[in-house]
């Protein structure tokens, strides 16, 4: 099974799920051979309140209800919100969400994120977090708290049994820099998504991290996301692991009471 472990749904003008977009995602999956999308719904600017991430997670729930065989959900929270853990418990235990999505409100190794990572470790659910090493002044200004691979490595030292996924090797800046740090952080996974489709990128990620830590994803770069895996110099067995086997193994670790 081909699993896109980093994809999104979004809001329509009425604040509910944009069904045109979520249906178009399924259509793209049919064309490109993607069986399952693991999705979140992000608010990209401004502070993230409970009401906002609760509504975002509600849209994910709507997407799953609309396409139950094709969507799985991440629970998106702002870790510093006092209701973050309650939201995670409700979504993961009550609605069957498969993991947690974090954006760039806080570095992943900061104390404010620690309770989220503790719960995720206890339940053995993945934490997919936005990350990267932007070298351009625009992104640096927009995202002062973006977690780099070094932040991920530090968080993994503190929570060695947590299932941490650094998002989009192709969407967050200097990916070669990221690989240097992630190769020293053996419990951190990396997803292949993002609009950057540099030749050799996936091969180098596999060489640095090992085949078992590289996870296929698109983050909305659909043809590019699939194409970069097809072009990587991998055996059929290894390609299948990247495309879904590795993430299925992560899902199999789930120990939610």
């Amino acid at each position: 099974m081909v699993i896109d472990c980093h994809m999104h749904v979004r809001a329509g003008k009425d604040g509910l799920l944009d069904t045109v977009y979520s249906d178009a995602t399924i259509e793209a999956g049919d064309l490109l051979g993607i069986d399952l999308f693991c999705v979140s719904d992000l608010q990209l600017t401004g502070p993230l309140t409970y009401a906002e991430f609760h509504a975002a997670n509600e849209r994910v729930k709507q997407a799953i209800a609309r396409h139950p065989k094709r969507y799985r959900g991440y629970c998106y929270v702002n870790p510093s919100d006092p209701q973050a853990l309650d939201e995670i418990r409700a979504r993961v235990q009550g609605d069957g969400f498969i993991g947690i999505k974090l954006y760039n409100q806080h570095f992943i190794d900061s104390d404010v994120v620690a309770p989220v990572l503790e719960l995720a470790t206890q339940w053995q659910i993945p934490v997919l977090m936005h990350g990267g090493k932007p070298n351009d002044p625009v992104t640096q200004k927009l995202q002062p708290n973006i977690s780099t691979a070094l932040h991920f490595a530090r968080a993994a030292e503190r929570f060695p049994k947590a299932i941490l996924i650094e998002a989009h090797i192709g969407g967050g800046g200097d990916w070669e820099w990221a690989l240097k740090h992630l190769r020293e952080a053996p419990s951190v996974f990396l997803d292949t998504s993002g609009s950057v489709i540099d030749e050799w990128m996936v091969d180098k990620a596999v060489a640095a991290l090992g085949i078992e830590r590289v996870l296929f994803a698109t983050d909305m770069t659909m043809e590019g996301g699939v194409g970069k895996i097809l072009d990587a110099d991998l055996s059929d067995e290894h390609r299948a692991r990247v495309l879904g086997g590795n993430f299925q193994s992560i899902l199999n670790r789930r120990a939610v009471p």
Partner: protein
């Protein structure tokens, strides 16, 4: 999982590829043999290549001479872009030499070479290329700025600036590479572009979700869109997947896959 199968006949032309080295990231398969191997794998008959080295050489023309020499043994498989800097000495003679050597189009990098796209020197080289029968190409970027080397440029080339230049020189033919044109179907920008001999390569747009390639084909017509991979900077399969997924008839896809580029590049320079 879908894999690319050559659906589009023997006339596939990659309108956007390079040969050579890039100082900020190691490329692989970036010589003639490597690019030919990729072409054969994907059923590409002809690749339109520019020198990657020429972008940052002070004298870009050395890069032109290099790719001319390097591709001589497989000249029927390559169309060459001539990379020149109109703010540097002697470009007029270098352009004439490129024409004599059979180069098929001009490549300009105003941001890398430090001149304004609407400057007199840029207009001069566009005029000279047009007089020589060469289309003029611009690429909006080489690499994503977020991963830029600390000595690389920051800004991308704005497609609207290229369109404005084209409007100043309506007799010139323009090729825009690496552009993201997310304009709505009714945008006036499409109408302005449609009124000119303006071609766009598709590698940074999409046939699914927002379907920007479908919008572009509808706005410009199928004869103005070009298949391009960006190889060896970029991995090639995405371009083919975009063409596969495009909601269009086979005639349109055949034009995009190579018919348009053949018409554009095979026109003999004056």
């Amino acid at each position: 999982m879908s894999t690319y199968k050559p659906l589009f006949g023997p006339g596939i032309v990659d309108a956007h590829a390079f040969i050579g080295n890039w100082p900020f990231r190691r490329l692989r398969n970036n010589d003639v043999a490597g690019v030919l191997a990729m072409m054969d794998k994907f059923g590409i008959n002809v690749s339109c290549v520019a020198s990657a080295d020429a972008i940052l050489y002070r004298d870009s023309h050395d890069g032109n001479r290099m790719i001319h020499e390097q591709t001589r043994g497989a000249a029927d498989r390559f169309n060459l872009y001539a990379t020149l800097n109109p703010a540097y000495a002697g470009w007029q003679r270098d352009l004439r030499e490129c024409v004599d050597l059979g180069f098929k189009a001009l490549r300009l990098y105003p941001i890398y070479h430090g001149y304004a796209i609407d400057s007199p020197e840029c207009l001069s080289i566009v005029d000279a290329a047009t007089e020589a029968g060469l289309p003029v190409s611009f690429t909006c970027r080489i690499e994503d700025a977020r991963q830029r080397h600390w000595m690389d440029v920051i800004d991308n080339l704005d497609p609207e600036r290229v369109l404005a230049l084209a409007e100043q020189r309506p007799n010139a033919t323009f090729i825009l590479l690496e552009a993201i044109l997310g304009w709505g179907r009714e945008s006036d920008l499409w109408k302005r572009m449609h009124a000119l001999p303006f071609y766009v390569e598709l590698s940074r747009m999409t046939s699914v979700l927002d379907k920007s390639i479908e919008v572009m084909v509808g706005a410009l017509g199928p004869e103005r869109v070009l298949l391009g991979t960006g190889y060896p900077f970029k991995t090639p399969s995405p371009a083919f997947l975009k063409l596969q997924c495009l909601n269009a008839d086979e005639e349109t896809k055949t034009l995009i896959a190579g018919g348009n580029a053949s018409r554009l590049f095979d026109a003999d320079p004056v």
